[in-house]
Symmetry: C2
Subunit: 90 residues, 2 copies
């Protein structure tokens, strides 16, 4: 079965995020008031073959800790697991 697992990799709260800070300033300049904070991270949609949703989830968790995220400065979270017929969601 083919699953698409979405993994979010964000900088940890204690780590400076200059990209997010720049976006926050730009949004303020563009006329959006009330921006408290912006954090910028990466998102990966992994399409993979797995026998069940649980296996797909744990495989993606393993991939995240081995390749996708740097655990010193980033935290990874699986935000969605969906069964798909073809690779890619959109």
């Amino acid at each position: 079965m083919l699953f698409t697992v979405t993994v979010e990799v964000m900088p940890k709260a204690s780590v400076a995020d200059p990209e997010g800070a720049t976006i926050a300033r730009s949004l303020d300049t563009l006329g959006f008031p009330g921006i408290a904070q912006v954090r910028a991270g990466k998102v990966y949609q992994l399409s993979l073959e797995a026998p069940s949703e649980d296996v797909a989830r744990s495989t993606a968790q393993d991939m995240a800790s081995k390749l996708l995220a740097n655990p010193v400065i980033e935290s990874a979270a699986i935000t969605a697991v969906a069964r798909t017929d073809t690779a890619g969601i959109r």
Copy 2:
């Protein structure tokens, strides 16, 4: 009220994604079989003041179309809206 809106910005399906292709090859090399496809995008956690969840959502949609995503090659989606007491989720 303070809301944290999560916006995912992904390359459109018709657009080449060399970063995702490289990650897919790397995962295969690392010994993860069954990878059909990897797509790599950006995720933004916007902490903003808004009177209601609906307003927070529509403001974030506006921000995405004006600054966060390039509509020619990327699509933006709001994946979560959460009320928070302090800026930042994690």
